[in-house]
Amino acid sequence: MKKILIVDDDKIFAKILRDGLGVERKDVYEVTAVHDGEEGLAKIQELKPDLVVLDIMLPKITGIEILEKLKEEGVSTPVLMSTQIADLEKISRVVELGAKGYIIKSDYSLEHIIRQIDEILK
């Protein structure tokens, strides 16, 4: 089973995504969710997930800072960024830092996200 880590302080989004993946991709993905940047960074090192769904704005350490750190340390774990609003400046920054894609949380479809994840992990 491939491991997916969700780092998002929006607990509703994190839970819906985790449960959605649990229902739609039962026995395909094993999903863990944490809610701040510090925890997220620790979990990435601990779990060595196959994919991280990472929120841009996070308490303690932001998603962008985590992404920068991963790039710095040469960690090549694929990252799907999630963001509350479509901020082009931030999106282009995360793409530049090597993110595989992004999710606009104010307007997302679970199906679409799952397809995006499948695509990255296939």
Binding site: K15, Q84, L110
Partner: protein
């Protein structure tokens, strides 16, 4: 005795004689005085008549030469002369006009000219040797008679607004003319004319100054060119926009350069002048501001009808409008997001809960129900806030004031947030000054809402381990609020309070001070503005709520007849306060 008597009688006789002579003389003097008075009256009347006529003929002319023409043309009515003339120094020439009343020789006129040139040079303190004369000679003819030389000559300087501009002269072939009477008269006429022009000039200068000041102080950039595209007028806003400081020459090419490829400035201006058409030429970005450019022909009414004098250009600064539009867009998109996001979540939760494995997991089910409740509550709160703001903006916001205990109201709110603060490991307490009257007139529901807004905001922005202090104190009219705050032992970050509380009647000041992250001085004034606050948090991507709470807080305080205020020290803490009339 006889001698003494004789002496006395003699003395009396002399006394009587002296007295009678004195009386006679006095009588004679009185008659002379009356005659002099009569003469003076007659003279005054005459002067007035002349002055009036000269005044009427001068009218409201600002042209000293025209005025001098009138004076010279009127002089023969009351003063005898062979020639009356003036010399006025122009930019390149000296205007000379002579009115000849009795035929004189060329030599006479040359002598007059020579004398006038000398006195003009003396008055102006300038060497006029090379300045040519522009001559006009009217009246009697010039003759070749050697006998007519200048015998009487009188010269008056023409002074406008304290500056000598020329001389006026009368000359005669007869000697011994131009005594005090004539001279006084001439002085009066010239003096009055000069004064009239001086006053008119002052009025015109003042009016022109007003117009100039208006153009100069306009927020919009204003430019005017003549038909040859030479810049005639450019105000500081325009210079600022194209970055050409005052004192440096500004040409049409500076504007063309500044507009760059965005706008065919000169082409449009040419078209405008030639075709007499007005253009809204589009928008340009200059020195960090956005300007809408209007180009139009400048016309003036002349005898031949409307004539185009040149081109006018207005750079209308629309930076603020554009920023406000952007803010409104941000506001709308944030609103949509704030409402759509929880609705979307509820919908997705509904979908997931149809899956038996999730629905049957009790813990998961409860968690989802909690989320549905929270999302719905948030949306309801937002909708209520939006309605409040709409009412405030429409001026339809109302409060129901009734006698209520401010102490109980505050206590109640502090208790309500106690658990939340404790969860965040924040110390929340409140203090109540002894002088504060317990019962005040206010709407308990709305004031509770204000307290909730302020306390929940403070909790949101205060780090664990921090403290929030709610305080009520009485401000007494005429006392310094800063002193009162110090006396209450209150830590308070407000810096502009003194001015706001000056002359304010007694009121209760309720403040919420936190040891939070503080607010930058740049953002402070934006806090109570719907669009600004919203746009700020939208841009930074921070999840700090809609910012509507403070707009409503301000509205509630103001509807109560009080006001809100804020002060902060970045990294140290903030104080929000509101007042209620005591």
């Amino acid at each position: 005795m006889d001698v003494l008597l004789g002496t006395i009688l003699g003395l009396v006789g002399i006394g009587a004689l002296v007295l009678s002579v004195f009386v006679f003389r006095r009588a004679k003097r009185v008659t002379a005085a009356t005659l002099a008075e009569q003469e003076e009256m007659r003279q005054r009347m005459y002067e007035l008549a002349i002055l009036k006529e000269v005044g009427d003929r001068i009218g409201y002319s600002l042209n000293i030469q025209k005025v001098a023409d009138v004076i010279v043309g009127s002089l023969n009515q009351f003063i005898e002369y062979s020639t009356a003339s003036y010399m006025i120094l122009g930019p390149e020439k000296i205007a000379f006009r002579a009115d000849i009343d009795k035929a004189v020789s060329h030599a006479f006129l040359d002598d007059v000219k020579q004398r006038m040139r000398l006195s003009l040079a003396a008055i102006l303190d300038r060497d006029l040797g090379k300045v040519p004369l522009e001559e006009t000679v009217t009246g009697a003819i010039l003759i070749e008679d050697q006998g007519t030389s200048v015998q009487s000559f009188f010269n008056i300087p023409l002074v406008i607004a304290g500056n000598a501009v020329g001389v006026l002269t009368v000359a005669h072939t007869k000697a011994g003319l131009y005594k005090e009477k004539e001279m006084t008269m001439l002085y009066k006429i010239v003096g009055q004319a000069s004064q009239a022009i001086t006053q008119l000039e002052e009025v015109v200068t003042l009016e022109r100054g007003k117009l100039q000041a208006m153009v100069e102080s306009m927020q919009d950039g204003v430019l005017m060119t003549d038909t040859g595209f030479r810049v005639l007028v450019a105000n500081s806003a325009l210079r600022g926009a194209v970055n050409i400081p005052l004192g440096r020459e500004l040409t049409i090419f500076d504007i063309v350069d500044a507009c760059g490829g965005v706008l065919d400035f000169k082409g449009r201006l040419e078209e405008s002048i030639k075709l007499d058409r007005t253009f809204v030429a589009g928008e340009v970005n200059l020195s960090g501001s956005i300007y809408q450019v209007f180009i139009f022909p400048v016309k003036s009414a002349t005898a031949q009808g409307l004539g185009v004098l040149g081109g006018g250009v207005i750079f209308h600064d629309v930076t603020r409008e554009r920023a406000a539009e952007k803010m409104r867009e941000d506001f709308t998109s944030m609103m949509v997001h704030e409402l759509r996001s929880p609705l979307d979540s509820i919908k997705k939760i509904g979908e997931l809960l149809r899956t038996p494995s999730i629905r049957d997991d009790k813990a998961s089910y409860d968690e989802y129900m909690g989320m549905v409740y929270q999302s719905a509550s948030n949306m309801l709160e937002l909708v209520n806030d939006l309605l409040d703001v709409a009412k405030l903006e429409a001026g339809k916001f109302q409060v129901q004031k009734k006698p209520t205990s401010i102490r109980t109201t505050i206590e109640d709110r502090v208790k309500f947030f106690d658990a939340q603060a404790r969860n965040a490991t924040i110390k929340l307490d409140f203090a109540f000054d002894g002088h504060v009257p317990d019962t005040l007139m206010f709407d308990p529901v709305r004031i509770s809402q204000v307290l909730s807004n302020l306390i929940s905001n403070s909790i949101k922005f205060t780090h664990p381990g921090g403290a929030i202090h709610v305080h009520a104190l009485l401000h007494t009219q005429g006392r310094s609020i800063n002193e009162e705050v110090t006396q209450a032992g209150l830590s308070w970050f407000v810096k502009d309070a003194e001015e706001k509380f000056k002359d304010l009647p007694n009121c209760v000041v309720v403040s919420v001070t936190d040891s939070g992250e503080g607010i930058s001085s740049e953002n402070l004034p934006k806090l109570f503005n719907k669009f600004e606050q919203f746009a700020t948090s939208a841009r930074s991507g921070e999840k700090k709520g809609t910012g509507l709470g403070l707009v409503i807080t301000k509205g509630i305080a103001e509807t109560h007849g009080g006001f809100v205020g804020v002060g902060s020290q970045e990294g140290v803490g903030s104080t929000f306060y509101f007042t209620i009339t005591a």
